[in-house]
Symmetry: C2
Subunit: 194 residues, 2 copies
DNA sequence: AGTAAATGTTAATCTAGATTAACTTTATTT
DNA sequence: AAATAAAGTTAATCTAGATTAACATTTACT
């Protein structure tokens, strides 16, 4: 089990002692998933918050018309979960599926509460992570209302050039809230402009 | 200073002792704003997270074309702030303006860090508040991608019937990401259907 | 290598919602 | 009670992006 990327990541936010790192390491679990497998399925109760060690996942939901909408991608050093389901222990709105073979560190809902008490610094750490996620989510709402599809795509390409490379274009279109045909049109338009 | 609504609100999440309530009360500040006044202005660094005791605010930003986009409304027992600016102490993206005379309890960025240390239960409290806000924000993204303007309006009307009553319609249109003319059309369409 | 499946492109047509503009109704101020 | 401003409505026209469908290219599988 390779937990070092998580420890490094935590180090950027709070300083854990070796003893605290040992407690953390003993409580979390490690798991490998294959490409195509589901970490969470819509309707299940989500039991884990997961830190991605390697690989890539998509978080999406299927609407009443059967349309798939991708809400986020997660790659190395990102988190993935249906946090709404996790914190309330109610059925998940989202599916989390692996787009590549993926290694995760998993925090179960039971042990995370213990960890908050044993290592209060971790409660601070998660508070900060969630604050950042909230800010990012609010900014995404702004973008969805104030930018055209083309500008949202350019923003995405600029912010996550690595992700654009490893994910099929029709999934990026879904993430941007447009059809794959229209993204194709946008891309050919961008090429013509250069 | 009427802090009781905040203490009641906190009670729903964590149990504070009388001593802890006294510490909290001594550290937060209380302020009244008049209708039209700004709690935060785009470009300023946001110094406070605010709990609304009475009144109503809108949080909005102005895009490059000068268009106003309302991100949220806050009424009694809600929070208001530019949380991105608050946590990073960088210039705010948003304006927060009072739509009515408004009474607030304000947590400054300095004292909130002290409070987390003095009363760790408050760090838990804020973590949970922020988790909920994140979930709400993610669900709003889903709705913006998967629902038509009409369905977003019906959802809003159903979730926040009190807010619909006290806010001008053109602001609700802005919150929904549509023009006031189109909201007007939607409403007359809904009336015809009944 | 050859076939099937997955992914991406192009173009014609259609529609939800924007824009513009003129008008009506409701609040506010004097 | 007028006058003025703010808020809401209606209708005509326009456009960003959806839908449909046929085709092209890339990737994976036997």
């Amino acid at each position: 089990m390779n937990i070092q990327p998580l420890l490094n990541y935590i180090k950027n936010h709070v300083a854990l002692t070796e003893a605290e790192e040992a407690i953390l390491t003993s409580k979390v679990s490690y798991r490998k998933y294959l490409k195509g497998q589901f970490i969470v399925q819509q309707g299940d109760v989500c039991k884990y918050e997961c830190f991605v060690i390697s690989g890539c996942t998509k978080t999406y939901f299927v609407d009443d018309e059967g349309q798939e909408h991708i809400v986020m991608f997660s790659v190395e050093d990102w988190w993935t979960s249906d946090i709404g389901s996790f914190i309330t222990q109610t059925p998940a709105d989202f599916n989390v599926q692996c787009l590549e073979n993926t290694e995760l560190i998993m925090f179960s809902s039971d042990i995370i509460e213990d960890l908050y008490i044993e290592i209060p610094k971790l409660e601070r750490f998660f508070r900060r992570i969630i604050e950042r996620a909230l800010v990012a989510s609010q900014k995404r709402i702004i973008r969805s209302f104030s930018l055209s599809a083309k500008d949202r795509f350019l923003y995405f390409r600029n912010q996550y050039p690595q992700i654009e490379q490893r994910i099929p274009q029709y999934m990026i279109a879904s993430y941007l809230g447009i059809t794959k045909e229209f993204l194709s049109k946008i891309k050919s338009q961008i090429i013509l402009e250069q």
